[in-house]
Amino acid sequence: MSTSMLRNNIALRAALRTAAPQATKAFSTTAPTRALATLPDLPYDYGALEPAISGRIMELHHTKHHQTYVTNYNTVQSQITDALSAGDTAAAIALQPALTFHGGGNLNHTLFFENLAPKNQGGGQPPSGPLAKSIETHYGSFEKMKTQFVAALAGIQGSGWAWLVQDNETGALGIRQYANQDPVVGKFSPLLGIDAWEHAYYLQYENRKAEYFKEIWGVINWKVAEARMK
């Protein structure tokens, strides 16, 4: 598929934006209102991260995988709201795995696409401000941090993510693995995430995930990661 075809989907994406469901308010005073999630736009074209990540993968990852998490997250929200409104605690709790999976999937992919950038938008440029200092403090050097991050990615069994996180209490940096679509919540805040699910690389790298884990550093948006620091 040529990249010009991918660039021309700007019109398609604009059309999708206008067709996206708007947030609705419930009229009942007892039922809680909820905001419908919508698929966030990418700040770059699908082909813009090549050769690190192919345009074909970016388009599928965004329009199929991320969109499905958005759609299913909205469904789960609706189901949980109904259960809570009906006072059905058991039903609401039974929906927790689905909430974690689809809500986590939406969160994770939103953050992920934001922390990638084409080279001409700063992708791959190492951090220079407070994040750089913090990385040096905690890992000794940027390269040592990368080595640990790649090891974390390589060690994931099955589907999951690796994140550079910040401890909410101490501010310390950490690298953590999260299974499936478990989001970074609670004790830690997400700074930078890399998707290690097979769909994130398979069409281009097949089973050679080590190559993907190496090439993706060329399109990491460290400015966004730094802006997430507290």
Binding site: K64, Q157, G158, E198
Partner: protein
């Protein structure tokens, strides 16, 4: 605890009996033209009984090739590396995964993941065939499925739903449980029902009759994110002869089956 031991003992006896299998399975093995493995100190990649393209258009050639020569091989390579200073590799792989409790603590995780991968994929290739025929109504397995699910259609729907709803990587299985009943279960990553209740829980432990890999690498090249289409395609390549043999093997080990 006692139930867990009973289940594990039953699975172990089944796994061990595979080394000297019953007449039904033996006749199938005799028909297999591939040579027996000669290296008993390391696991080796079992050859497929069919070409990589043979399952087209349901399972594409490229996926079969990469799945077998890369993914399955990697599990075997990593497993052998983990076990190199032990003699566990002399065990049949189904035996090894049933006996995870005997593996040293520092190796257990690796053996569970890589050994599970080897066991699951070895089973999977046998579970597939280019010459799929419908499971005969009136056959013991068909009767067992009807008994457990009400009808073959309900079983298929149950299996499809389970395979669709695995959150992440894993497998969907039809297993024979300790009481002889059939059940649809799922496992995450490379867990296997053969690992026993102590590892996968009472509700999941059992002897696999059919199994479907729902890791993305099993279907992504052809089916992309549309896992349900891949699951539907699976029904065209299920080896019901092999499944029936597995069912009879499990049932013959049960003292007092309900049916």
């Amino acid at each position: 605890m006692q139930f867990a031991n009973l289940t594990l003992g039953w699975i172990l006896s089944l796994a061990q009996s595979r080394l000297g299998v019953g007449p039904l399975v033996q006749s199938k093995l005799d028909a297999n033209t591939s040579p027996p493995p000669t290296d008993t100190t390391a696991y080796t990649l079992p050859p497929l009984d069919y070409s990589y393209a043979a399952l087209e258009p349901h399972f594409d050639e490229e996926t079969m090739r990469i799945h077998h020569t890369k993914h399955h091989q990697t599990y075997i390579t990593n497993l052998n590396a983990a076990l190199q200073d032990t003699s566990f590799a002399s065990l049949h792989i189904d035996d090894l995964v049933a006996r995870l409790s005997e593996v040293p603590a520092e190796l257990k995780g690796k053996v569970r993941n890589q050994g599970g991968g080897h066991a699951n994929h070895s089973f999977f290739w046998k579970n597939l065939t280019p010459n799929a025929t419908a499971l005969a109504e009136g056959s013991p397995l068909h009767k067992g499925i009807e008994h457990a699910f009400g009808s073959f259609e309900v079983f298929q729907q149950t299996f499809e739903k389970a395979a669709t709803s695995v959150f992440g990587s894993g497998w969907a299985w039809l297993v024979v449980q300790e009481d002889g009943e059939l059940k649809v279960v799922t496992t995450l990553n490379q867990f296997s029902p053969l690992m026993g209740a102590g590892v996968v829980g009472n509700g999941v432990a059992g002897f696999p009759v059919i199994g479907l890999d729902v890791w993305e690498h099993a279907y992504y090249l052809k089916y992309r994110n549309v896992r349900p289409e891949y699951i539907k395609a699976y029904w065209h390549v299920v080896n019901w002869d092999f499944a029936s043999d597995r069912y009879m093997e499990a049932r013959s080990s049960i003292a007092h089956p309900e049916l």
